[in-house]
Symmetry: C2
Subunit: 741 residues, 2 copies
């Protein structure tokens, strides 16, 4: 019996062991390996909340004080000091990033000479009766010093023309035509114009076409100060622009380094001859303050300017030419002496990278320019202060080892933006291939706080959803504790046929560094800021923009005391950044392009269809293309929903995300706008025609219906229509199930 | 004690159970789930072997007999019948694919009119002394019938010029200069030229520049028959071209539908006015047989043509102008009457898709054109016969459920290739976005067997390794049982500094449908065929090319009796296709670009550096760029080896494969060759300069050093150099670790 027992025991033991093995193998789920769990991981909402909680208003204020401590014009010693500051922050062992580098480009900039530019009233005998200020008034002790660059129009050519003064409103082509219609001989005149309406460079380009020999530009108090112009009504007594304040700016009509279009400006690169560059102002141009402009404008003779041309300088604006016979400037001319010079300079970008844990080859880019005109507290340091705070908080998590994003994050501090988005454009030229292959989105926060009333976001439609998600989660500054979203909708809203009443997202032009990312590379982009209560001001922009009065004290006292709006922008941008870098499915809602396409199509149908039909061009293919896109976008949305419910494998998610990422790229056509530089996005290129539709179609129709047009212009209309249809079909194919050609 | 025993038993049992659980859980590896095992699965070599074994020579022969049964000129009824045949095969329930579709484009073709084109010798009194044949001799009963299109030069304009005949060799610009140098007045002459040397259309374009009013083109027996020209030496007595045989062809100098460059030729598309198209022959042009050419050429008067211009028509070639005074054609002129007309026609592509199991959004494309000039047994049906056999074998596996490729496979039968790669080009225009995003490679098998001696592969360098792998595994036809590789190396070989003696891969021009894939889209491409023993023939191409004598019987008797070379090509193409679609890591060896770059660089250094330095242009940045590329490619290779040793997760493999796939794309620059259509690959665009280096640099240097050049031409040299450097840097970035910008 004993052996039976033993046998029984052994058998029983073996059975138990076997059962154990079976249980162990089948019943206890193996913990997934770190790799696969990491690959399936979605955005960690607790981590997101913690990050937003750590974004600190005081630190942003400290950053701003340091960044705006001194003027940091592009390539100036202080600009290079800030390069080092950024490198130091991003290389910090406790709060730095994985990599920080500061590559340089050799780019063509424009500076005033040591011999100052001048604008004078010269009597017939050659006596100087009046001279405009050559620099701004030193009101708070910050506006003096050699580092404050004198007001000038960058890229305006040197020259010393002299002639009778005329007033040309905003310097649009129509404005000069109006002057001609009034019988004024524009040849060899000096045109006084005001900022706004058309771009800076366009004023000089338009003027030159009419024989004008120099252009002066000033900021009218009606456009910037809600009419206020007296010293005691303006800075430092309010946020208003003081009479001596002058808006500097680039007068180059295009963007990127002017000598190396489509090529990164390496020292050895091919360069155009400066004389062959198109887009520079053709005649000397100089900006002046409204204090000086008043002296000139209020002394003009001639017909009274049209009502819409009148401003707030406290006199009736007349057109000229020349000064009133009864005044001090009788028979005098205006002399404009411009001594700007072009110079090849080394400009740095600073790049800071956090490598992605799962998809390191997918990049979420976040950038702002670093260079300013003077101290640049608002523009751009308010944005850089936010950038540094976001990178500090994320860098700290990274260095602690508690977090690494799914996708790579690339922080960028661009150089020489003020001269025409130069640092960012050269970057997109250098990394053209990899960015087109891998960039998920570009987030731009240039001026982070124009004013402290409300969020303002510009972007392509797919960013709407991620921006809304972020805005709903963050509390707006102010007493009533609304969400940023609920506050926003009070200021900017629209009725969407899909969503009802929602905040209104703006579109992207070429006002900051997002331009090359969107227009040249087709990367989904956005620009985030806090801005004005438009019921309280109609200012073109914050009043000290590009002047010596844009200082830390100005921000601290007038723009955002307490920095709570800065903090709100940091939280918005940080939240959008984390959502884009960490979400399993990219939070880009391609279906939100449907409204844009629908609106563009409707406008074309209402305002152009009859015209086109007369020429035998049908909108039918466009209608079909839009319908197909809408269906494909909806189907993709549906597929995402289904996949989210299941447990999709990482490759499935990746394939779908590739479709979302590449949609914007499919709208590019490098042959659509042969006269433009960089613009190739068939939905967002500049639109000059009056109909708010596809820009290529709108512009071609405007040209075809203008005087002197013929079959070639109508052929171009048809070509543009085909380009749009093909782009939509390509975009549809990108969204359609990947195996159906 | 009992309870102690019981306790001991229980504890022991528990321990055993526990041990079992532990062993079961940890010591026995869990079988990976189906999903993840599928994702990690590599090429199945047994399946590959089985597929190659099933590719049947007799079935290829049967396919060819059916395909070449009747003439199937693009858009003819028989062409459309073959569309249906392809659809039927690819929709077959037992051997079909997942999807088969036949989209159409509306494209501009050129056909002879019902009024036949003619070439006659006309006496001074207007008597017709001699007329060239209007169709080929019906030697085997297959060359007659209304479906055989009469010989013509597609896209040559109509017209009936008459003038003195001259002999202009191959019609190159130098040939016409030579005639001028000989004092011959070319104005209003008719130029007799022979095929070869320059492209078809170039002969007419060159001629027109010299005032010539029409061009005749014939095939000299020296160029096609190794000198043989007698009826009993040629088809049907040998594979030689008979005297009446005429090579048809497209005389359009570019490719794609001529009216819709860069746009898919949908019915509603914008179209150019035909009169504005550049690249059509400017003067009437007509091809004739060498029997007729002999009659004309051997009667010419004038100086004896240079030795290099002499041919095998059995007389001494003279230059003209006009005929010998002692002959029958004394004082006669030649009249050329061309009645070609342009016509918009619907041309079909046929696409057959096998959806990928793991990465359906990665496409391996395999195509050939379907249209022929006449029966087109060799061109293109020998390729289509192979295509159908490969798709049958794979389709059968698919329908049985035993196999589905990792990536999607797209089979294509292109329309209207003979008129200028039209079907394939329109396809690349329509699917521009998705193909750029997703296409892994394009395999072209047009003429599969030119002759039965050896493999011949043209492709971009990354395909070399996969082609070699396939060629080593397949037995070549013939008695000595060599591998295709070992046979190949006997005919075409070179010494590689990396690999030693290897078969020599050719480069891709624009001779078949791979052109838009490579040049326009930057998709890694190759063309696979069996071809001549060059020690036995110097024929330009197989003798009946584009004539009515290219029939099934011709192939069966002369080109590949037994179809073993067809089978070898099928196995080669099938193996390459499966390796590309099923391998875990894409079998594209980017490191093999190093030799190309090195050779291009060395040529530039040897032949251009001194010249460039005189103009202050340094090759230094190019040297650096090539070195960096080489390092990055080597590092990537290293990384692949390491990953292959580990168990890489599917996302890691995907990221790496994306780098391999996108490398070729990074060499594109749409602004590099503004005068060309579609060409944008900076390494493979057409090179006209004499130095075998980067084409943009070679061409720009050739222009800059030619007569009348100035600073603008030297600026273009520098621009081209910068474009190449930037493309290399972009390609390097694509290969570099994905997180290092």
């Amino acid at each position: 019996m004993q052996w039976v027992k033993v046998l029984g025991g052994v058998l029983g033991g073996a059975a138990l062991l076997g059962l154990g093995i079976i249980l162990g193998h089948f019943a206890i789920p193996k913990k997934p390996t770190t790799a696969s769990s990491k690959e399936a991981q979605d955005l960690d909402l607790k981590l997101l909340e913690s990050v937003l909680g750590q974004l600190d208003a005081n630190r942003i204020r400290d950053n701003l004080r340091e960044l705006a401590r001194a003027p940091h014009l592009a390539t100036s010693p202080r600009d290079e000091e800030l390069v080092q500051l950024l490198l130091q922050r991003w290389e910090d062992p406790k709060s730095g990033l994985d990599v920080a580098v500061a590559p340089q480009y050799q780019v063509l900039l424009s500076f005033p000479d040591t011999q100052p530019n001048s604008v004078s009233v010269v009597s017939p005998s050659g006596e100087i009766l009046f001279s405009c200020r050559q620099s701004e008034e030193n009101l708070t002790g910050e506006q003096g010093g050699s580092e404050v660059v004198r007001p000038y129009a960058a890229y305006a050519p040197p020259g010393t023309p002299q002639g009778l003064l005329i007033y040309a409103n905003r310097g649009s082509e129509d404005d000069f035509k109006e002057l001609q219609a009034q019988g004024i001989n524009l040849t060899n005149t000096i045109a006084l114009t005001r900022y706004g309406g058309v771009g800076r460079g366009a004023k000089a380009i338009n003027a030159a076409k009419f024989g004008v020999s120099a252009v002066l530009v000033y900021t009218d108090p009606a456009d910037i100060n809600d009419g206020k112009s007296l010293p005691n009504e303006t800075f430092p007594h309010s946020w208003g622009l003081p009479p001596s304040g002058v808006e500097r700016g680039s007068y180059y009509e295009r963007f990127g380094d002017p000598l190396t279009p489509y090529l990164p400006a390496s020292p050895s690169s091919f360069r155009l001859e400066p004389s062959t560059v198109s887009g520079f102002p053709p005649i000397p141009t100089q900006p002046i303050g409204f204090g000086d402009a008043q002296e000139l404008l209020c002394n003009l003779q001639g017909s009274v300017a049209p009502a819409a041309w009148q401003g707030a300088l406290g006199c009736e604006y007349k057109l000229g030419p020349g000064f009133q016979p009864g005044g001090n400037f009788k028979d005098s001319q205006v002399n404009v002496s411009v001594h700007n010079r072009l110079e090849l300079k080394n400009s740095s970008n600073v790049l800071g990278i956090i490598r992605g844990a799962v998809e390191p080859d997918r990049y979420v880019l976040y950038g702002n320019h670093r260079d300013s005109w003077v101290h640049g507290a608002v523009d751009p340091s308010s944005g850089t202060a936010v950038l540094l705070e976001i990178s500090r908080v994320l860098g700290t998590l990274l260095k602690k080892g508690t977090w690494r994003p799914r996708r790579s994050i690339v922080f960028a501090s661009w150089g020489a933006e003020e001269f025409g988005l130069i640092g960012s454009t050269e970057f997109t030229e250098e990394f053209f291939s990899t960015l087109q292959e891998r960039a998920v989105a570009y987030i731009n926060v240039d001026i982070s706080v124009f004013a402290n009333a409300t969020l303002r976001v510009q972007g392509t439609p797919p960013v709407q959803s991620v921006v809304f998600s972020a805005a709903k989660q963050i509390t707006a500054p102010g007493p009533n504790k609304l969400s940023v979203y609920d506050n926003w909708i009070r200021y900017f809203n629209r009725t969407s046929p899909v969503y009802g009443s929602i905040p209104s997202l703006g579109t992207l032009g070429a006002g900051s560094d997002y331009a090359p990312f969107l227009h040249f590379l087709g990367i989904t982009s956005m620009d985030i800021a806090y801005t004005y209560d438009r019921s309280k001001t109609s200012a073109r922009i914050y009043p000290t923009y590009h002047t010596a009065f844009d200082t830390f004290g100005y921000v601290d006292k007038f723009v955002d005391p307490g920095f709570s709006s800065h903090q709100a922008v940091a939280r918005m941008a940080g939240s959008v950044l984390l959502r884009l870098s960490d979400s399993l499915f990219l939070p880009l809602s391609v279906v939100d392009y449907n409204e844009t396409l629908h609106n563009f199509l409707r406008a074309a149908q209402q305002d152009l269809a009859a015209l086109l039909e007369q020429r035998g061009i049908s909108l039918g293919p466009l209608v079909t293309a839009v319908e197909k896109f809408e269906k494909a976008a909806a189907a993709l949305n549906q597929r995402i929903s289904e996949l989210q419910k299941s447990q999709p494998n990482p490759l499935q998610v990746r394939m779908l995300n590739d479709q979302l990422m590449l949609l914007e790229r499919a709208f590019l056509n490098t042959r659509a706008f042969p006269e433009e530089l960089y613009y190739s996005h068939v939905l967002w290129a500049p639109r000059t025609g009056p109909v708010v539709t596809f820009p290529g179609l709108a512009n071609a129709c405007a040209r075809a219906t203008s005087a002197g047009s013929g079959p070639a212009e109508w052929a171009e209309v048809h070509r543009q229509l085909s380009i749009i249809v093909v782009a939509l079909e390509g975009a549809t194919a990108t969204l359609t199930s990947v195996t159906d050609l």
